[in-house]
């Protein structure tokens, strides 16, 4: 894809004027935290601490932090099942995420959901969803509720490019446009479904072009450039917040590993994958830009690295030491009681 050359150019571009140093270092920290967290999750999976399916965000760190930083803290986020990084990026503690992967009571979803179903009502992190496309109508409905109440918040709905070939995607974008809902559809195009290349599965491989069917604004952005993703997200969020217009952002990223932890990735040329990891590593690229702008030195980067390692270690410890859900709670949460507070009172309008 010709985005490759653009990506390399962007990854090497100087840091623009007016960026705040502390904020940039936080982006770097957050991206590195996701990287190390995911590497650790892969390790814990192979040690059988984590069950089920486990899909990692390795290589997508800039896409995630750019997405999260383009939103306000109260905005609502829906994602697919490759969402550990999004949960962390939206403020769920790494310990609560790791505990959920371990199936513990202290996990983000009290151990009922696992890797693919992280949730935090207080942070308006409205769930990872494991049926491809399932989150898209739901996110559209959340935006409907916000419009209904004339609220200030918006919804951002993340999905993979494979989702854009299914009915839920088309139905939802149509609904969002006819009702003028405050939502940003955020498509992470990592160029593969599981093993199916985007060109094989989608008649239009440039996903952002699909938005024209709904007369909807859309952008394609380099998903390895955290600042570019953030800026496009801000633009899309502003459109949703101020004009109640939905839009679509396509972030082109590069998946470092197979579809999930257990996928040996045989369908990709491993030489190319290796080269791709080097060419499209959003974290080393960002570190180089920070250093080129004299915003951080080697020692500063090492300090961040140490801090991140310690955070991930603490997350694992917390998860390991947390209790399993008690067996006598098996039947809890099937039905909400009459007294259950719904999001309208809990979240505050």
């Amino acid at each position: 894809m010709d985005i490759t050359r653009k990506q390399q150019a962007a990854a090497q571009a100087p840091i623009p004027e007016g960026e705040d140093r502390e904020t940039l270092l936080r982006y770097y920290h957050d991206m590195l935290l996701i990287r190390r967290f995911e590497e650790k999750a892969g390790e814990m999976y192979t040690r059988a601490k984590i069950g089920g399916y486990c899909h990692l965000n390795l290589g997508e760190e800039a896409t995630i932090i750019g997405f999260c930083e383009g939103l306000e803290p109260d905005d609502y986020v829906y994602t697919n099942y490759r969402e550990h990084g999004y949960a962390i990026g939206r403020g769920i503690l790494p310990g609560a995420v790791m505990a959920e992967l371990f199936g513990k009571e202290t996990g983000a979803s009290r151990g009922r959901g696992g890797s693919m179903h992280l949730f935090d009502i207080n942070r308006h992190f409205m769930g990872g969803y494991a049926i491809v496309g399932g989150q898209v109508p739901l996110a559209t409905g959340a935006a409907f509720a916000l419009a209904y109440r004339d609220a200030h918040e918006i919804v951002a709905c993340q999905m993979g490019e494979g989702t854009t070939n299914g009915g839920a995607f088309f139905e939802s974008l149509n609904l969002a446009k006819i009702y003028h809902l405050p939502i940003v559809y955020f498509v992470v195009n990592n160029q593969y479904g599981m093993g199916l290349r985007v060109e094989q599965g989608s008649a239009v491989a440039e996903i952002y072009r699909k938005a024209c069917a709904f007369d909807m604004e859309s952008w394609r952005v380099d998903g390895t450039d955290v600042l570019a993703v953030r800026d496009i997200m801000r633009q899309a969020a502003k459109l949703a917040r101020e004009r109640h217009e939905p839009s679509l952002v396509e972030a082109v990223s590069f998946r470092f590993r197979g579809h999930s932890v257990v996928d040996p990735d045989r369908y990709r040329d491993q030489e190319q994958v290796k080269a791709g990891r080097e060419a499209h590593d959003p974290i080393t690229a960002f570190a180089a830009r920070l250093q080129a702008a004299s915003l951080v030195d080697e020692q500063g980067l090492q300090q961040i690295e140490q801090q991140v390692d310690s955070e991930v270690e603490q997350a694992v410890q917390f998860a390991d030491q947390s209790p399993d859900p008690p067996l006598d709670t098996l039947f809890n949460y099937i039905y909400a009681s009459a007294e259950t507070e719904s999001a309208s009172t809990e979240g505050g309008e």
Partner: protein, 329 residues
């Protein structure tokens, strides 16, 4: 107390709930400008405007999911699915999402929503427009499924459904909409999971729900007048939760049971009810339990074929005559 049709009872309840709670809104295909395929929502767009009465495009999975998402943020959507046949297009959002969200995310986010939809055949609408699929939903933990048979129950149970904090499948029936009945005044509600003995009797029990519960009551009254058989009728009203106790107690009294249902026989609602009876009243049974259900074919268009496939009063009468205690024959 006022006499009104099932349709009117639904309409008035929707209107009252819209007036009562700002979070309640209606959505569905052709419910606004067109006033509903079966006119349940007649006049409501005019009264409440397009914010509260939302016409949707034809995309069941999309708008049921949209309703679910709105419910996650505390609105109380009431979805109309034009007929239950079209709900199949929304199965992913209902079964994989609405039914799962409260549990799967550890009790953080209730989904207070109602999906109203009519089932039923007999109108020569052929195979894709005549089904009774309620058992699919009754199978799923996380959903509630109710199926009232009278205007009074429809009113009380729709109120309960709208005020419940969970996804509720509210089953209606095309042939019930014009049925009239007395409806009490006041803001009464009917709890889910409470079957109702609509007619007391001694010789056998007929257990049913939705339209067949109304047919069963007619048949029971007629047979009692004609040949003195005393038939008890239990209208379960709610499939999930299911009130086993009322069913079992009735069978303990009469010792004979027929389950009467409009859906297909195999794996139908009756199969579950029969199972509950044998678990709770095995020693009380004087005869095997009978099931009267629709014939297992995709419903044909031809009127004679359709009549041959559907169940109804005639089939129930035959079953009663076969099962009734000999002394009464």
């Amino acid at each position: 107390m006022a006499e009104m049709t099932y349709r009117q009872a639904l309409h008035d309840t929707l209107r009252e709930e819209l007036l009562r709670d700002e979070n309640v809104f209606l959505l569905g295909e052709e419910i606004g400008t067109f006033e509903g395929s079966y006119k349940i929502t007649a006049g409501l767009l005019h009264e409440f405007g397009p914010r509260r009465v939302v016409d949707t495009p034809i995309c069941e999975n999309g708008f049921v999911g949209m309703a679910t998402g709105a419910a996650m943020l505390g609105l109380r959507p009431i979805v109309e699915i034009m007929t239950i046949n079209f709900i199949i297009l929304a199965m992913d959002q209902i079964v994989n999402h609405a039914a799962k969200i409260y549990y799967m995310f550890g009790g953080q986010c209730p989904v207070p929503m109602v999906i109203r939809t009519p089932g039923g055949g007999g109108q020569q609408l052929a195979a894709t427009h005549s089904q009774n699929l309620e058992v699919w939903f009754a199978h799923v933990p996380g959903l509630k499924v109710v199926a009232p048979s009278t205007p009074a129950d429809a009113r009380g149970m729709l109120r309960t459904a709208v005020r419940d904090n969970n996804p509720v499948i509210f089953l209606e029936n095309l042939a019930l909409y014009n049925v009239k009945g007395d409806v009490p005044d006041g803001d009464y509600t009917i709890s889910f999971g409470q079957a109702k003995v609509t007619k007391e009797g001694r010789d056998l029990t007929v257990i049913s729900y939705s339209r067949m519960a109304a047919v069963a009551l007619d048949v029971a009254r007629r047979i009692e007048q004609e040949n003195g058989l005393s038939i008890e009728v239990v209208d379960v009203r709610s499939l999930r939760p299911l009130d086993s106790e009322t069913i079992v107690n009735s069978v303990k009294k009469t010792n004979r049971a027929i389950v009467f249902e409009e859906d297909w026989l195999s794996f139908g609602v009756g199969a579950e009810i029969v199972s509950r009876i044998q678990e709770g009243a095995f020693d009380y049974l004087d005869a095997p339990i009978k099931r009267v259900a629709s014939v297992e074919v995709p419903l044909p268009y031809s009127k004679p074929l359709e009549l041959a496939a559907l169940t109804g009063a005639k089939q129930l009468v035959e079953a009663i005559q076969e099962l009734a205690p000999r002394r009464r024959r």
